[in-house]
Subunit: 216 residues, 2 copies
């Protein structure tokens, strides 16, 4: 009835992550791609998660978390992001190196351990990529944001988060000193001016990974 294996947690987390910054529901095939499994594996797990009341699913339709599922998912995300923050702040990792380690540890550490690092870090609200760390009750504070790739020329704002999907992008941006909190103005397509007046050319891949404040 509880059903909280590492695999199930990964499915829930991935469903949650998909809807965190985009508002669309995820389809089984998209989920399969993200998880790197066959579509039939998704069907199977979806059946189990639905039977446990963690997701809502009509046959041939998209997937949506139930309240119970969302709570479970945010708990995993919370672990993942606290671990990433801790690896960067205390264990000497760079922000492009934490993902895989966190992926494993999030299923391995005890609650006690989690709270130990949380306290040590001073109860951070965001991870190194700017992603909000869900509270223990599942609450997530997420400001309105849009992709840099979708911003119009002239848009000014602050970098809120960078998707951690592509380590290459992360390394490049770190070298360019572009991270959460950076203020900028989009002076031309794929070109931003930072607070200190420096220009930066961002790759299309980077523009599709950088989320910025919606309001100037």
């Amino acid at each position: 009835m509880t059903y909280t294996t590492g695999a199930a947690e990964d499915y829930l987390k991935t469903i949650y992550a998909h809807t965190e910054w985009q508002a669309e529901l995820i389809t089984p095939s998209a989920l399969a791609v993200r998880l790197g499994v066959a579509p039939s594996s998704v069907t199977e797990m979806v059946k189990k998660l639905a039977a446990n009341g963690l997701i809502a699913h009509v046959p041939y339709g998209p997937l949506a978390l139930t309240d119970a599922g969302r709570l479970r998912a945010t708990a995993v995300v919370r672990r993942h992001r606290l671990i990433e923050t801790w690896l960067v702040d205390e264990m000497g990792y760079d922000w492009d190196q934490v993902h895989d380690e966190a992926e494993v540890l999030e299923h391995a550490i005890s609650d006690r351990f989690l709270e130990a690092i949380n306290a040590r870090l001073g109860f951070p609200a965001h991870d190194p990529h700017g992603d909000p760390i869900p509270a223990a009750d599942g609450t997530v504070l997420r400001p309105p944001a849009l992709l840099l790739a979708e911003a119009v020329v002239g848009h000014a704002g602050t970098v809120l988060r960078i998707s951690d999907r592509d380590p290459t992008v992360l390394r490049k941006l770190a070298a360019d000193r572009i991270g959460p909190g950076a203020e900028f103005r989009l002076s031309a397509p794929l070109t931003i001016v930072l607070a200190d007046g420096q220009n930066r050319l961002v790759t299309p891949a980077a523009a599709a990974a950088i989320w910025v404040t919606a309001q100037a």
Copy 2:
């Protein structure tokens, strides 16, 4: 061919642990008890480990690690003990609380992470219970030792290690300030005098968990 699942690591580690302080080979049934699995499960895993050249086994006989198996086992033990040391030294755990957490983490952390904590701890030679931490090449430094339960009255020496099997024993001994490094003399059965002259009565369970230097 490589075959290093968490379960297999646990079998190897347990076989190794059995022969670390006692010189006897372990039998399949003893291994089953230690691991909390059915004897038939042991038979099955033993077959796989033998096929992979990690243990030597003749049907109906006891189990022995091959060189390759010992190397694999000490690698796991190394992880386990470094993690325990780190949990106590840096993460605020008491020595009777680290076992379960280490049991899970030893299969989860990367080599990079392991070396990060190793460096942070200053490359310790022993864990909090006094167990030697194997070197990366599998070398283990283990002084001659005997159980306090087997020492004769009058025996004097130093506490080398305390088995971490029983948390109750560990808590009691911590309260009594008996730990690795403590000098003592066995003044009567189950009675020791510490370096500062204080007397301590040890329970039979504790006497069967405390290993001391063989020579006075």
